[in-house]
């Protein structure tokens, strides 16, 4: 047990938890105002539903001792998760390790929501993320970090390029395809309703990401400082390249583009954070801008309504990051393994394998779960509810209510206030007295 490690991990856990409300702002600003609450609620709900699923079952399946494919049940309902050191982190309390990993499960499920905004029935979404976090997230986390076969093969994934981002990106792709496009998609413009929210969300995501990557060292040491610094540098590279691409293509640097660039840079550096040199992180961030930038341009010309480009930002950004980790990793910095650039071809091939395994498993798992959910609750709302907006149809609230025309419904003691406008007392001839 180590006091400084524990205090850094306490802070990191809080930082990563903040990323989910930050994502709510990032996604919430990108949709139309009539769907703002629904979009933000998809992230907020994950804090509760996936968090509970994690404590009850998910953590055990990911991190309890078990076979290579899946963890055991010995930590289910947090049995045996106490104040002694965690089995997977020798210097911090087991409860803290569980909480830190829980924040990852929560945001990974929430990330998927960006592909299905403005049209998914909310109860169906809740059921889906609970099942997904247990049946898809937990096994992949086990394979890479919990003693499973990808970790044993030597796959490098510092903070979740495969487990979090490719996993969520592929789930988003499958979910967007199965749900189908919004009725207005490619027929009328669906513009972001609050771009300052998008920038606020991107800024808070970056802040939280210092805990996401820096905390993934599971200690307050040099590797944590390396991961922290790389998380600082990579998005800067992405932001510069993205802005230059914007300027070259359209002549104008866009704010939504800048916010997207920050997220893409953060995604790409996630698997690499504690494994590459700071200069490599900068290069990695700069390179990561290209595939995601052009994927977004291409996607918007297709029938794939991945509404907020989760596939381009997280799926493709995560893949580029995971592969470049296999190229740029440096033993002189990480003490673990070299990448392709430093003569270790095997590391690159292991990275390719980890990416492919995650894509296939996440794609198949998401497909099966959504089919299952659809049997119980239809996953898509009807066109009328889509037209009205999901804030009112799914939540009975509005994000920006004027308050005009709202009449209090009071208990029967005071019936006066409930007289509807159309049924008002007839006005005596000659006007009201």
């Amino acid at each position: 047990m180590n006091g400084s490690d524990t205090s850094w991990m306490l802070v990191s856990t809080a930082l990563v938890l903040l990323m989910t409300p930050a994502l709510a702002f990032f996604y919430g600003g990108l949709v139309r105002s009539k769907n703002a609450l629904n979009t933000m609620m998809m992230s907020v709900a994950s804090l509760g539903f996936v968090g509970v699923a994690w404590a009850v079952l998910g953590y055990s399946l990911a991190f309890a001792p078990g076979p290579s494919a899946i963890g055991g049940l010995s930590f289910a309902f947090l049995r045996g998760v106490g104040l002694d050191v965690a089995p997977s982190a020798a210097t911090i309390p087991h409860v803290l390790f569980m909480a830190f990993q829980g924040t990852f499960a929560i945001i990974t499920a929430a990330l998927i929501s960006g592909a299905i905004v403005e049209r998914k029935r909310f109860p169906a979404y809740l059921l889906f993320i609970v099942l997904w976090s247990i049946a898809v997230y937990a096994p992949v986390a086990h394979w890479v970090w919990g003693g499973g076969f990808l970790g044993k093969l030597g796959a490098l994934d510092f903070a979740g390029g495969t487990v979090v981002h490719i996993n969520a990106g592929v789930a988003a792709l499958v979910a967007a395809m199965m749900l189908g496009p919004r009725k207005d998609y490619a027929r009328q413009a669906t513009l972001p309703h609050h771009v300052p929210f998008v920038l606020l969300g991107a800024g808070l995501l970056w802040f939280g990401w210092f805990g996401f990557n820096g905390g993934s060292a599971l200690a307050a040491n040099g590797i944590a400082a390396l991961a922290f610094t790389n998380t600082f540098l990579a998005p800067m590279g992405t932001l510069v390249v993205w802005t230059l691409l914007d300027l070259k293509r359209g002549g104008k640097a866009t704010a939504v583009g800048a916010a997207t660039a920050i997220v893409v840079g953060l995604v790409a550096v996630t698997p690499a954070a504690g494994f590459v040199s700071p200069l490599s992180a900068l290069v990695l961030g700069a390179l990561a801008a290209f595939p995601s930038y052009f994927a977004i341009l291409y996607r918007s010309r297709t029938r794939l309504d991945d509404s907020l480009d989760v596939v381009a930002a997280h799926g493709i950004g995560g893949t580029v990051g995971a592969l470049l980790t296999g190229v740029l990793a440096e033993k002189a910095w990480n003490g673990v393994s070299d990448g392709l650039l430093f003569g270790n071809v095997r590391q690159f091939l292991v990275q390719v394998l980890a990416v492919l395994v995650t894509i296939v498993f996440s794609g198949a798992g998401t497909f099966v779960l959504l089919k299952l959910v659809n049997l119980l609750i239809p996953i898509k709302v009807g066109p009328r509810e889509e037209g009205l907006g999901l804030d009112v149809s799914q939540h009975g609230e509005e994000a920006y209510s004027s308050g005009e025309g709202a009449i209090l419904i009071l208990p029967s003691a005071n019936r006066q206030a409930t007289v509807p406008l159309g049924a008002a007392e007839p006005v005596p001839e000659g006007g009201p007295v």
Binding site: R384, V392, E397, G405, A406, I407, T418, P420
Partner: protein, 120 residues
């Protein structure tokens, strides 16, 4: 000349604009209004406070047209704004006494006839 005033659902605005464009109707003002037809009230809840939303969001278009344009304009709106449910809105056709175009001082018929649009 007539002033066509149409009040309808905001989610139908794009379809209506498209239909008006197809009918070659130009010169439109639009505003967001709140109104009440006969539609069912919407109930919302905020921290245990339940309210009935008596006024629903609507869009109002005002279109000044010459007489022979009234029918195509109204037809375009009727066909594009309808959902078939209560709350689709109304179209009013109102006589207009006088129209001036501010830029040129043209009057009446000439003022509501669109100029050949220069593409910016």
């Amino acid at each position: 000349m007539k002033l066509v005033v149409a009040i309808f659902r905001p989610e139908k605005l794009n379809e209506v604009l498209h239909a008006l464009y197809e009918a070659e109707v130009r010169g439109i003002s639009s505003s967001r209004v709140q109104g009440h037809g006969g539609e069912l009230d919407r109930v919302e809840t905020y921290r245990g406070t339940t309210v009935k939303m008596e006024l629903a969001e609507k869009v109002r278009l005002e279109i000044g047209v010459s007489d022979h344009f009234v029918e195509p304009t109204v037809k375009a709106i009727l066909s594009s704004a309808r959902t078939g449910e209560v709350g689709d809105g109304k179209v009013f056709v109102i006589p207009v006494e006088k129209v001036y175009r501010i830029r040129t001082g043209e009057e009446d018929q000439a003022a509501v006839t669109p100029v050949a649009t220069a593409v910016a």
